[in-house]
């Protein structure tokens, strides 16, 4: 069996989560190829070929792939996927979720979303009902389409030496246009892949108060996150939201500050290795999943924590 992985990248660098998908693909199919669809993306192909376990890297390089429009990337993936693959996989990120179902439907195949474990080559485990249940599903389609939750699989190691091959590019469908992008510039690590995450809830009370967490995050080299309540209240940007409908994270250390711990939020962070909760409500559900709970006023505890960390 052979899997094709759709690489996620920004034309300059391969997104690290592609490596986690490689691990899942090796488990499911054994042989793994990667498809890079982009514009001026030669550097991405070089990074992809160095991933251990990858046999071939296909590159489709054309100007109309520059902004990863779903219609354009899907058309290219469709052309390559039909070359006898048993599996076609992508990260369960906003990029992978956008593109993969399009291709699956065009080949009259179903898709398994958000796989968290490979049970057998055709069988995967995935969360349903906001992570309140785990379904094990088996797929009988000729090609098995899977989006993979990156935090559930280790990143594949470096050290591969795959062949890189250019493929013929499909024509621009020209039904969509890229207008613009507002990606928050931050010197903090990216939320989805950070080793430490500092998250704030509604108890922070204002966007201004969130800056307190920034100092803590700086000290721990952590990414910043937020609960849905904090995002809805306008204290933190949308893309900071951790939870079933936001980002799924599984860092080494997750510090939940002023977060009560709604099911929605827990679904996004309960696979973290160590969870710390700081909340003044001793009955907050977050304490039921926290390894270390501190019942305290965050406005006293956080400055003290920053000070004690030195």
């Amino acid at each position: 069996m052979r899997a094709l992985i759709l690489a996620e990248h920004d034309n300059a660098a391969l997104k690290a989560l592609t490596r986690n998908v490689v691990t899942a693909a090796v488990q499911a199919a054994g042989e793994v190829d990667i498809l890079v669809v982009g514009s001026g993306c030669a550097a991405v192909a070089q990074q992809a070929k160095a991933i251990a376990g990858v046999s071939k890297v296909f590159v489709a390089d054309a100007p109309h792939f520059a902004d990863a429009l779903a219609e354009n990337v899907a058309a290219q993936l469709l052309a390559v996927a039909a070359k006898g693959y048993s599996h076609v996989m992508a990260p369960a990120s906003s990029f992978g979720k956008n593109v993969l179902p399009r291709v699956a439907a065009q080949l009259d195949c179903s898709q398994i979303s958000d796989a968290i474990a490979v049970v057998a080559p055709d069988t995967f485990a995935r969360p349903i009902y906001a992570g309140n249940a785990i379904a094990t599903v088996q797929c009988a389609d000729p090609i098995i389409f899977v989006t993979v939750r990156p935090t559930s699989f280790a990143a594949a190691a470096h050290g591969g030496a795959a062949a890189v091959e250019s493929v013929a590019t499909v024509a621009d469908p020209a039904v969509s246009r890229f207008v613009g992008r507002e990606i928050a510039k931050s010197d903090r690590p990216e939320l989805a892949g950070a080793k430490v995450v500092v998250s704030g809830g509604r108890a922070l009370g204002s966007a201004e108060n969130f800056k307190l967490l920034d100092r803590l995050a700086q000290r721990l080299n952590a990414a910043l996150g937020a609960s849905r309540a904090a995002v809805d209240a306008g204290y933190a940007p949308n893309d900071w939201q951790v939870g079933q409908t936001g980002k799924i994270v599984a860092p080494q250390l997750y510090i939940a500050i002023g977060i009560s711990g709604a099911i929605q939020h827990l679904a996004g962070m309960k696979d973290s290795k160590v969870i710390v909760a700081i909340n003044k409500d001793a009955d907050a559900p977050i304490f039921q999943v926290a390894d270390y709970g501190l019942v305290a006023d965050l406005f006293q505890a956080v400055p003290e924590l920053i000070e004690k960390l030195g």
Partner: protein
């Protein structure tokens, strides 16, 4: 311009589901069912397009058991003009739903299809993309802003790391994210009015769609439970524990 909105009947968002002891699924007997919250946002957005005189007619569609009529009545109460139910007792998976919706799109020829980015039961996040592919339409998923002008829809999308804006040629499929709008409350007079609005019932066979499931659910289990840890009395103890016991900070 005709707008089609697709709504799914799901276990209400406030219900904590339980896995059945025989691991065949979750127990949904006698639990409250509601419209998928993301679809409610889709209906609201369609209504705003109608109120802005961009849309002329809003049609709500659902696929599933006959009780989905209640979900459609809710869409009608929010303001949709008429409704279509593709009725079946069969288990419907995203690809099958996308095929049913594609058949309805072919019949109704809407300029815009709006649906939730995912349903809160199976969390699949596939139907909109699959529908777009089956009808060879462009798509704008995870929308947090929608503007329609001159045969194109400009959509701001919530993507990892921030926002992205794309413009898609109509007809197109848009899937909604949480912050696109805040759905209105349904008023009693509108609920009464909704009862008189037309609701057509179709069958998958009459649309020529085979809805047989492709994915077999082998089992459904409880997620691994995380054990509560310890309470620490103060910040100093917390720092010591993180440094010496958990070894996650230096």
């Amino acid at each position: 311009m005709k707008v089609l909105v697709c709504v799914k009947r799901v276990v209400d968002y406030n219900v904590k589901v339980r896995v059945k002891p025989d691991q065949t699924g979750v127990d949904i007997a006698n639990v409250k069912m509601s419209m998928n919250p993301f679809d409610e946002i889709a209906v609201e957005e369609a209504m705003r397009l109608k109120e802005a005189s961009v849309a002329t007619e809003v049609i709500a569609v659902s696929c599933g058991v006959s009780q989905c009529q209640e979900t459609l009545r809710t869409a009608l109460a929010i303001g949709a003009d008429r409704a279509i139910l593709v009725e079946t007792d069969a288990e419907l998976q995203p690809l099958a739903v996308a095929k049913l919706l594609a058949a309805v799109v072919e019949r109704e020829q809407p300029q815009l299809v709006i649906l939730g980015k995912q349903a809160i039961d199976d969390d699949a996040n596939q139907t909109g993309q699959m529908l777009a592919a089956l009808r060879s339409l462009p798509q704008a998923t995870f929308a947090s802003r929608l503007k329609v002008a001159q045969g194109w829809a400009e959509v701001t999308r919530e993507v990892d790391g921030g926002l992205e804006t794309v413009s898609v040629r109509l007809p197109a499929v848009v899937t909604t994210d949480l912050r696109l709008n805040e759905p209105r409350y349904v008023t009693l007079p509108n609920i009464m009015k909704a009862k008189k609005k037309p609701l057509e019932v179709l069958l998958p066979a009459s649309l020529g769609v085979d809805v047989a499931p492709r994915l077999k659910t082998v089992r459904v289990t409880e997620p691994p439970q995380r054990q509560a840890g310890i309470r620490v009395p103060d910040v100093a103890t917390l720092v010591t524990k993180l440094r010496d016991e958990a070894k996650v900070i230096s």
